[in-house]
Amino acid sequence: MEPGTLSTFLKRGAIWGFIVLQLVFFSVAGKYLSLSDTAFMDLDNMLLLLKQSAPIGIIAVGMTVIMINGNIDLSVGAIFALAAVVMLDSMTWPVFAGLGDWVIPVGWGLALLTGVVLGAINGLIVWKTGVDAFIVTLGAMLGYRGLVFMYNGEQPTSHLNWTLVDFAEAQFLGLPTAAWFLLGTVAAVWFIMNRTVHGRNAYAIGDNREAAVNAGIRVGPHFLINFMLIGFLAALSAVVFYSESGSVNPNDGQLYELWAITAVVLGGTKLTGGSGSIISTLGGVIAIQLLRKGLGHIGADTETVNLVIGLILIAVLFLDRQLNLKGKQELRV
């Protein structure tokens, strides 16, 4: 075996090991500390967990692609909110009044289109100006959020369509709708990243941009496609979530970009790009949700949960750095 294979294997599998560790810990600790009688590893509880993971999870999948490509997108939370506003509001537009329940796909389509367009704007600016994606999407985060407030002021945008709610609350083959969307997204994006030329080029660009350019890969168009993809996924996340809740506050989706990045990083994707896995990001998303539920199960409050997640994130990155430092005989800086 070539050197490095074992540590690579450990690092790739680490997130699943962490999840198993949590399951065991919370099951055992729950017996002594939990206020409820239900077991932690109850099937319904786990299905609910998958459903609750969906909004951040779908965005995190897109964020993985962006980060593999060597960029970052801070505007996803704002895109999420704006897409939700467009979806719920468009269903009440008089133009679509005669459509009946056919207004649902129309509203969805408009929301997803909104996401793609906003993503494309980010991508085009990054491509054409060469400004760092962090700055571009930081600006977009503020700007798109501004659009949300311009739409309806401080007021929530609400529209309940019971057909839609029924669909969102339905279960198919035992899995809730939102979970299907999450798993479908994971599968589709995994396929794009691992089976298409675009996906492999995205890895190459993030890994060694100069080598990619020298090999004739056009970096800009790949950036654009990936920003459109994450815009689409942020909107899809909104579609899934608000089909059920039916009401969006102008501040919804704030900090989603940071939760998504947290999940991606926990899943082992490198901040510098070139390396990462969609499946591991799913692991990262589940790990965070599990931690929240688990800590809740044993009686911790929300503030404690955030503190613990923050500490774990730093600990994970510290371990990762130590492993790499040892392996490469880097300079002590």
Binding site: T5, T8, T196, R200, A211, A215, Q329, R332
Partner: protein, 503 residues
């Protein structure tokens, strides 16, 4: 070697950079099926010439002719499409991708819907890898390969296109003997197929083994082409070094004081092994070797940037460990780094602030920085080192290379070190300032500093050193006193040739 039309011809290539004439009318002709060595000291213009050929630099004047067609190389990709393929010394691979993906980077075979045609990709890659007889397969992740095997991946790339000429830049620098044999077979194979090969190397042994002709560059100009079978090492060395440089070997020895620094059996992983030497006060010890021989890594260890895996360091006879650069500075070791602009200076800051950077914490008046004390230090070293600047407010980035280097040296002198390590003291510095820096180094030794000079330029090492340590791939081959050193025995030592094997 056939007598057909050249596979590749460069005519009168001129390339200037601000302040430097990097290439001064260089011509080179490579015939199909010929292995043509390109030789010259570091900085002679080889890599600039290759960058012009590879489309990374556009020449100011001159022609590039491939198979009798006048061409312009717009980009590296353009050069590749015209049949000019590079095997780079610095690897340009995506380490997270597989071998196959790297070999066909940018040219992955496609099926419908933009899907990768993995079957075709792996089949084509296996075919190429079979030719190279390597021990890894198409699906191996490149990051899991040894450096030597990564080099083989680079080489495999050259075999994917219909190459007219292939340029190998120090291809054996990281290869084992067995791997070299494979590489030479590959080169022979390319040769049989009528490909012209440019082979850049310092290693005489290899040059005589595989090349047909040798062209030599010195100081950016073309010095002649020799037929390998009809020449010898002396003739090549003569062309490479020449006599025009007015730098004689150092004969003025200072009076030596106590041993300031002694190193015994120092090793650091694969970077260098079993290094022992000493430097006395008043002495300049030159470290000479090829890039990658381990010299800079030793300096980094002494400055606390790397942790040695074995060995001992003594300062003034006391065994010590150096934990960090701050620790090194407090123990009287200073390092003027190789990359002046990247590691030595804060280019956007002014002269005074750069010079007092390491001691600004000691110059406080209460909680504030004592600007007067800073200016006093700057003035003192400006006069002592003859730094030419309009004043301390000048941004360092606007100074000439020579004056920048003096700021760095001044910075460390103001810390009153015992041991001063200077890595590539005159890289990118014009000829006039070079001799000033050289004189300065001699003068510092005269004042009782123990000085280590690391240089890739032989005349420089010969000119400033009292003793010269010759290194080859991480080991000290021999330590010369300035009386016994000659260009020939020094070049042999750093090329890995033992005296009895040399012709």
């Amino acid at each position: 070697m056939s007598q057909s039309t050249p596979a590749l011809r460069l005519e009168n290539i001129v390339k200037t950079f601000p302040g430097v004439r990097a290439l001064d009318g260089v011509s080179l002709e490579v015939l199909p099926g010929e292995v043509h060595a390109l030789m010259g000291e570091n900085g002679a213009g080889k890599s600039t010439l290759m960058k012009v050929l590879g489309g990374l630099h556009q020449p100011d004047e001159g022609k590039i002719i491939v198979s009798e067609q006048l061409v312009r190389m717009a980009s590296p990709l353009d050069a590749k499409s015209k049949g000019i393929v590079f095997i780079h010394q610095e690897l340009s691979l995506a380490s997270e991708l597989t071998v196959a993906e790297n070999i066909y980077l940018g040219e992955l075979p496609k099926k419908r819907f933009g899907l990768v045609d993995w079957q075709k990709l792996y089949a084509q890659t296996d075919e190429i890898l079979a030719k190279l007889k390597v021990g890894f397969n198409a699906k191996t992740r490149v990051g899991d390969l040894s450096i030597a095997n990564q080099q083989m991946v680079e080489i495999a790339r050259a075999l994917t296109v219909d190459a007219k000429a292939v340029i190998f830049d120090e291809p054996t620098a990281s290869l084992t003997d067995a791997e070299k044999v494979v590489l030479f077979d590959v080169i022979a194979d390319l040769k049989d197929h009528g490909v012209g090969i440019i082979y850049i190397s310092h290693r005489m042994e290899e040059i005589f083994k595989i090349t047909d002709r040798i062209s030599v560059l010195r100081d950016g100009s073309y010095r002649g082409t020799l037929v390998t079978a009809e020449t010898n090492e002396d003739e090549i060395t003569q062309l490479m070094i020449g006599r025009s440089l007015d730098l004689s070997r150092n004969v003025n020895h200072n009076e030596l004081g106590d041993t300031a620094l002694e190193v015994k059996g120092l090793s650091c992983g694969k970077l260098y092994r079993d290094i022992s030497f000493e430097v006395r006060r008043g002495e300049v010890v030159g470290f000479y070797g090829l890039v990658g021989a381990g010299r800079t890594e030793i300096a980094e260890t002494l400055f606390g940037l790397r942790e040695p895996s074995a060995g001992k360091i003594f300062l003034d006879g006391q065994e010590t460990r150096i934990h960090s650069p701050a620790d090194a500075i407090s123990k009287g070791i200073s390092l003027v780094p190789e990359d002046r602009k990247g590691q030595g200076l804060v280019l956007g800051m002014n002269c005074r602030d750069n010079m007092t950077l390491p001691q600004v914490d000691d110059l406080k008046a209460g909680p504030f920085v004592a600007e007067g004390a800073e200016v006093a230090i700057f003035d003192q070293y400006r006069d002592r080192l003859d730094i030419r600047t309009p004043g301390w407010k000048q941004t360092v980035g606007n100074l000439s290379g020579g004056n920048q280097q003096k700021i760095v040296i001044g910075k460390w002198l103001s810390m009153h070190p015992n041991v001063l390590i200077v890595d590539e003291p005159t890289r990118g510095i014009d000829v006039g300032s070079k001799s000033e820096i050289h004189n300065l180094i001699r003068e510092l030794a005269g004042h009782g500093y123990a000085v280590i000079v690391i240089s890739s330029e032989m005349p420089e090492v010969l000119h400033v050193s009292d003793r010269i340590v010759a290194m080859y791939s991480g080991e000290i081959i021999r330590t010369f006193t300035s009386d016994e050193v000659t260009e020939d025995n020094l070049i042999q030592a750093i090329s890995g040739i033992t005296p009895d094997k040399a012709a």
